[in-house]
């Protein structure tokens, strides 16, 4: 599904309400949420396209802040779509991920030496004894 410049501009305005700049990180629009980010999201989740198209149609000629507030209060599905799509596009940006120090859900194998349980930690629990009610006779 294609989105034109006007729709992308609308999306950028809405996205910046949800994710403004701060803490050394750019606002959503500067991170390409309405540009490459949107294209990437829709490539992974084409099912989100129709809902977004409809939502942006409703947002035309509206104040972005008021529109987001209205979605939040009266359109849970639309608000849910926007709050899924915008951060998803934002966090796909490699610079954003780098600034967050987040490198994805890569493997962290269990290390039998460093991850071994210190069983002395359990002594206090054991000392308190059973806490279950046995089956009545």
């Amino acid at each position: 599904m294609n989105f034109g410049a006007e729709e992308r501009s609308l999306l950028a305005g809405l996205a910046d309400i949800l994710i403004p700049s701060g803490d050394g990180l750019p606002p959503a629009s500067d991170a390409g949420v309405a540009g490459e980010g949107l294209d990437q999201v829709l490539a992974f989740r084409p099912d989100l396209g129709a809902g977004l198209k409809k939502l942006l149609g409703q947002a035309a000629n509206r104040n972005s802040e008021e529109f987001v507030a209205q979605l939040r209060s009266s359109d849970p599905a639309g608000y849910g779509l926007l709050t899924e799509l915008v951060p998803a596009a934002y966090f796909l940006n490699p610079q954003v991920r780098e600034k967050l120090g987040y490198h994805g859900q890569g493997p962290r194998p269990i290390d039998a030496r460093t991850d071994a349980l210190d069983e002395s930690l359990l002594q206090a629990v054991k000392n308190r004894g059973p806490i279950y009610r046995p089956t009545p006779k």
């Binding site: 700049s21 859900q105 493997p107």
Partner: protein, 542 residues
């Protein structure tokens, strides 16, 4: 359609290839029985498991979503849930719910089987913890369960097959806090391989357990059971959605009418039929199988088919810590569990209790979602980045499984209008959280908050009830000894139809406050064993 069963027909037809069907099919085929299984879904597509890729958190919400209304796959049926406080979560595929479960492997406690005797509510189970214990041990070996023996919350027993998951920084913090508070904690049991085990590889702590385990480290039955079952001779038919069960003039089930993915109707005959289609799918099939002989639904002379739906209201408490806990990763899964407040204390103003499991919170997109943070705790707008950094990698979550008592009016019915893609009436949920459950959950959320504060949390975030967490679907074809007050007996045999069995979570008289797969699997094995032992005397269609 022939009403008679011939030697070429299977001894057993199982509906559903989730944990119930997997465990039962294994036992039947081991006993030399001919087994056919109908599953409306397909094999899970692990090429869609994206942990490690940038789109993981985004795509996880589609293919691996547990809500069939959101997933809308070809295998799914819609569930009308507008009159329910909780949305059902399930997975229609080979492996069933275990494909997307968090693999918290909790046995029930002895008191869970004696709630009437001990707490004066609901019904006792027609079996005891001690009767089920040997079956727990056997299924734990099959699922590759990790954990540590000696937990004082349970009777002592044999060691689990695999060592426990690492406590991690968050687990150590909370464990020390509980020792100071004098509260229970223990390294948690999980059906997650902490080292290579049979068909399972070792876990690599990607916190992706519910959204496609790329390592094949989670004990889901598409890995632990079905390939072996098929090699042993079980015939598994995928894309097969059961429309109804057929009954002969003697009141015995002759088999199931099912629709394949091309919309073509088939009839599968069998001597005995076992339902393992979960607490919604099973009553749906029984209600769809109404006939002149069984006008209120098959096996429903008690009127209890579909009633007493229990879904475990679920809340979370998340602690935010100054320390980097590395909580983007870990087992999802649980690192430790707490059963300090599991048993009834009447001074609290409610009966029964809840289990807590300590979990990581995942990557950045997860920091913005209702699960685990709650719909009222969103971080958008002005403080977005500040809140994001406070959460990401610095948070630990107690997930709280609250026991739900059986209420007659909480139920599954057939929706009068909504249908699935094959034109079969869809289930509708009528469910309201009871006052006991509300009080119970509130109490536990407050204690869990105290736990995390004691562990050093600088801030806590409470999600009192998360809607899309109806993972545990229980009680809708309850078992008991009184045929007027139950649907099946203690071995899952329907009182009204002697060659029809229900083995899944539908038959639980009460829900416990535990994740149910351990008990679902153990119970399925116990029921299957009884059917095998009694097969010479089993009534079957002539």
């Amino acid at each position: 359609m022939s009403a008679s069963v011939t030697e070429s027909d299977p001894d057993v037809l199982i509906v559903g290839a989730g944990p119930t069907g997997a465990v039962a099919a294994r036992r039947f085929v081991q006993a030399g029985m001919k087994v056919v299984v109908l599953e409306q879904g397909d094999w899970p597509d692990y090429s869609k498991a994206r942990a490690g890729h940038p789109d993981f958190e985004l795509t996880a919400g589609r293919y691996w979503s547990g809500n069939p209304n959101r997933r809308q796959a070809a295998a799914d049926y819609p569930i009308e849930d507008s009159d329910s406080d909780i949305s059902a979560v399930l997975y229609n595929a080979v492996g069933g719910g275990t494909v997307i479960y968090a693999a918290h492997w909790q046995r029930n406690m002895p008191s869970d089987f004696r709630v009437r005797t001990l707490d004066g509510v609901a019904e006792d189970w027609p079996l005891s913890y001690e009767e089920l214990e040997p079956y727990y041990e056997r299924v734990e070996a099959d699922f590759g369960v990790s954990g540590l023996a000696g937990d004082p919350a349970f009777p002592s027993g044999k060691p689990l097959p695999l060592p426990p998951a690492p406590l991690g920084a968050m687990g150590r913090r909370v464990a020390r806090a509980h020792d100071r508070l004098g509260w229970h904690w223990w390294p948690a049991p999980n059906a997650i391989a902490t080292r290579a085990y049979g068909p399972l590889n070792a876990c690599t702590q990607r916190a992706a357990c519910m959204w496609g385990c790329v390592e094949h480290a989670k004990g889901s039955v598409d890995l632990t059971h079905w390939p072996q079952n098929i090699r042993a001779g079980v015939r598994l038919v995928t894309g097969a959605r059961v429309r109804r069960l057929e009954i002969n003039s003697q009141g015995l089930v002759t088999g199931a009418v099912y629709v394949d993915r091309n919309g073509v109707e088939h009839f599968q005959r069998a001597a005995v039929t076992v339902l393992g289609a979960n607490g919604i799918g099973t009553p749906r099939i029984l209600l769809l199988s109404a006939s002149s002989r069984f006008p209120g639904g098959l096996a429903n002379s008690s009127g209890l088919v579909g009633r007493r739906l229990m879904m475990h209201p679920f809340g979370t408490v998340v602690g935010l810590f100054d320390e980097d806990l590395g909580s983007t990763h870990g087992l999802w899964g649980q690192h430790i569990h707490c059963l300090e407040f599991y048993e009834t204390d009447s001074a609290r103003g409610f009966v029964r209790g809840a289990k807590w499991g300590l979990q990581p919170t995942g990557g950045p997109l997860s920091m913005t979602r209702d699960y685990p943070w709650g719909a009222d705790n969103a971080i958008w707008e002005r403080d977005f980045h500040k809140q994001l950094r406070k959460r990401l990698g610095h948070s630990a979550m107690w997930g709280i499984i609250a026991e739900d008592l059986p209420e007659q009016e909480n139920r599954v019915v057939l929706d009068p209008a909504l249908k699935d893609a094959d034109g079969i009436p869809a289930p509708k949920l009528l469910y309201r959280m009871s006052e006991n459950s509300r009080r119970l959950l509130q109490f536990h959320l407050e204690r869990a908050r105290e736990s995390l504060v004691a562990a050093g949390a600088v801030e806590t975030v409470i999600a009192p009830l998360i809607r899309e967490t109806g993972w545990h679907l229980l009680g809708t074809a309850t078992m008991g000894t009184d045929r007027a007050a139950s649907v099946v007996n203690a071995w899952g045999c329907c009182h009204d139809v002697p060659n029809l069995f229900v083995f899944d979570g539908s038959i639980w008289p009460t829900s416990s406050g535990m994740n149910p797969t351990a008990t679902i699997a153990a119970l399925a094995l116990r029921c299957a064993e009884q059917l095998v032992e009694g097969r010479r005397h089993q009534k079957v269609p002539a």
